[in-house]
Structures are given as structure tokens and as C-alpha cells.
Amino acid sequence: MAKHKGRGFACINYPIGMNLGGDPSQALVHSTPDGKFMVSLSSIDLGQGMKSVTRQIAAETLGVPVSDVFVDTADSDTGPHCMGSFASRGTHRVGNAVIRAATEARAQLLEAAADELEVNAADLDVDGRGNIHVKGAPSRSITVADTAIAAQFRQGRTVSGRGIFLIPPSEANPETGEMTPVSCFAHGAIVVDLEVDEETGEIAVLELNSAYEVGRALNPKLVEQQLVGGAWMGISHALYETTEPYYPSREHGPVDFNSYLMPGPGDLAPHNIAIIERPAEDAPFGGKGPGEMCANPVIPAVANAVYDAVGVRCDELPITPEKILRGIRANGGARPRGARH
């Protein structure tokens, strides 16, 4: 009895966001009296890093330090409308809305500073460190904090901005069926190397090699981490996880973490990732979302690698040892690399 190595490939063109009757998200930005900025969103950060990325986007657009920006999310009673955190749309849709809101707030900030410095707002610039100065004359300056205080306590003016980003609904052309469901695609490709034990049907994933095109990686560490974690989830879906019963009836299905199979920290395979940056035109600073596509292509790549290893084509998930053994038996034996008996 032998273990057979197999290699599988898969690639993905992943649509960012969706378009079923329009896909809007809104953002509100306002300054506090001490010159910090609050970004209000209804989008939810489930740990994917949207709060970090929208914070960076707001700081970059406002021209203030990241540490002076705060993001408040996920109260749909008090926040501006958002379609939600799904379809890998957060960075793209919400990020664009934040740019618009922050742009309006920045204009008001410069208007307030212009009043204090007695210059034209068009002649002002921010230094990204909390100061506003006259272009070409850095000594003629005022801090963002002093500007916020002046705006709110002397000038009676808000420093705030509203932003919405909408992918409008796209109806299908009744003649041709043509439509534009998606404005922005991210891309990925993955190679999975694994080993199948033809006696037990068990699979050991040996190595992952992947390349992902994510527009611009706005926060490279977060992107990398999401790709690593997402691929792990993909493997988990391909080989272990299901809420359906394993065998033989539903009552034997998993009901808790004891019986719900997942790979643990000892089942990890090395994962080498190449992040390819090709900034997207309609994306905030070019960044799309790695999002769901970090898990999706792993599944077909694993299925292909299993086929390569033992010649069994599984079209139901998860690919359990039982399915592999039944497949090997139906084929009259393992067929490594497409070998025929």
C-alpha cells in the first residue's frame, strides 16, 4: 500500500461586491473638538480588518495622522446606511464612501483654517502630521486641533463630510441579455501539493503556493494574513467541515466543536504567497478586497490534486477518506497521475 502525491491547480476571477438592484454604502466623517476625526460606518468588521483599512483611507484623504482617526462601526440604528460586510465589498465600496466623506471634511477643515490664517483655502495644504500650512510657506501654519477648536467654538462651523459610493443597478438588456453585474474583479491562482494514503484514504496537504492580485495591498500585513487564514479555511472546507452528517444519518452529524471536524495547528502546510499589485481604477487608492477569494480556489485545487494523486474525482465536499476509498474501489485501484489499469 502506498501514499501517492498529487498536485492540483485552480484559479479565480473574483467579483468585488454585488449588484442586485444597486450596491451602496455610506460613510460620515466629523471632527471632534480636539481635532481628531470620527468615521461612522454601519459596515461590520468581523476581524477582516475593515476598521484598520478605512482608518488608513480616511487619514490619507484628510491628510492627518492615522492615530488621529477613529472608526466606529456596526450600529445600523445610528450609523449611515451600508449594504453590509459580504461579497468582499468592504474595502472597495466602503473605502470609496470614506474617501468622499473625508474629502468633504478636508475641504471644510481647510476653509476653517483659511479663516484663521486669513488666506484662501485653495492655498492651504496639510502635512499629514497634524498641521495645516500655506503652500510654499510652512511657517504660516495652524494645527488641525486649533483649527477644529476655532471652527467649533469661534466660527460656529462643522468640520464634517458625507460620502456615498453606489454601484448602480444594471438591468439586463432585453435584446442581448447583456449587463454589467460587476465593476471590479480580483484574481488569484493556487497550486496545492498533497499526499493521499490509498489504504486509509487520508489526505495530508503538503504545501500551498499561491498568487493573488488584490489591486493595491492597502495594508500588506492584513492582506497576507487574510490570505493565509482564508486558505486554511478553504482546506478545512475541502477536507473536513460540513454540517451534514458524515455517516450514516443526520443524528450522527456534528453538534459542537467536539464533533465538528477542523484542522488544528498541527495540520498546517507551508503556504507561499505572492501578492501582485495592480491598482484598480475605481477602487480606493487602487485596493480591492482579498476577502472570500482567499478560500474559494483552494477547494477545487485540492479536488484536482486528489484526482492527480489517486484518480478519484470527488464532486461533493468535504473530500473525506471514505469518499476517496469508495472512489478507489470503484476504479479498481488507485490511479496515480491518471494511470489506467
Partner: protein, 161 residues
């Protein structure tokens, strides 16, 4: 149900509270003391999110009766940092982006601390073994293992005379 007094040391401070007979330590820490760093995950001892150290050993606080904490020394993730200066594990988790949603992080930190207290020079496989009782659904574990490896290096350097 009648309540019993229980006293223990929590992160170096003497702590006393009344607990119910069937109340687990996790609930006593979260609701009784207000230390929210032990997380409520499965409440049946399978996820590791509620891990605390009792006399230096990791325990699932959801499976420990609060009354049994009498006289013990308990450490939670809230006690890891020394004022503003973070424990090397905490710093390594931040630097290595070893958390996404962060729910498993307090338990991971304490599982890792137990390992490093015992063995400041662990191999990758030993780290995987040490955190195998702690579920993480976001990171795929690799960044957590990397962070613990780099924290171990910092701990070793600071232990050097």
C-alpha cells in the same frame, strides 16, 4: 441557591466575591469580577477561549467551579502586561498580526505563556501542540505560531544575564 464566599489571587491582587455553587470560574471572572479577557466560547471545554492559568497551569475556566478557585493564584490575559509595557507575547502578536477577530487571542496568549514559562526555546511542533486546545477560525494558526516563536526569542534574550 445559596452563595459562598471565595477568595483567590487574581493577577497578583487579592480578590474575594460571592459565587453560586454551580457557577463556573469563567462566569465568576466575567460577571463577578468584571475581567472580560477570558472569553465565553463554547462553555463545554472544547474551544480554549476561556483559558486561564491557575497556579501557573492552563485551565479551561468554563470547566472549573468557581468555589474550587479558593486560595489559588489565577492569571488572565488582563495580567500579562506590566502597566503600559506589554508582555513579549502580546507585542509579538501585534507585530506579527497574529489576531484577526481577536476572540481566541487571550486564550492563545495564556497557552503560549505556559509553554514559554516551561520551555523558552520551543520548536514549531511544540508550539502547535501547546496551542492545539485553542481554536482559531481566522488566522489559520500560522501567524500565531510565528508570533510565539519570535516572542520566545525575546524572552530568551531578556532572560540572559
Amino acid at each position: 441557591m445559596s452563595k459562598s464566599p471565595v477568595s483567590f489571587e487574581l493577577n497578583g491582587s487579592e480578590t474575594s466575591l460571592f459565587v453560586e455553587g454551580g457557577q463556573n470560574l469563567l462566569d465568576a471572572l466575567r460577571r463577578g469580577v468584571g475581567d472580560l479577557t477570558p472569553k465565553f466560547g463554547c462553555n463545554q471545554g472544547t474551544c480554549g477561549a476561556c483559558t486561564v492559568l491557575i497556579d501557573g497551569q492552563p485551565f479551561l475556566s468554563c470547566l472549573v467551579l468557581a468555589v474550587n478557585a479558593e486560595g489559588r493564584s489565577i492569571e488572565t490575559a488582563a495580567g500579562l502586561s506590566d502597566g503600559p509595557s506589554l508582555h513579549p507575547l502580546q507585542q509579538a502578536f501585534i507585530d506579527g498580526f497574529a489576531a484577526q477577530c481577536g476572540y481566541c487571542t487571550p486564550g492563545m496568549l495564556l497557552a503560549a505563556k505556559t509553554l514559554l514559562d516551561r520551555n523558552p526555546n520551543p520548536a514549531r511542533e511544540e508550539i502547535a501542540e501547546a496551542i492545539s486546545g485553542n481554536l482559531c477560525r481566522c488566522t489559520g494558526y500560522a501567524p500565531i505560531i510565528d508570533a510565539i516563536l519570535s516572542a520566545a526569542e525575546i524572552v530568551r534574550r531578556s532572560n540572559r544575564p
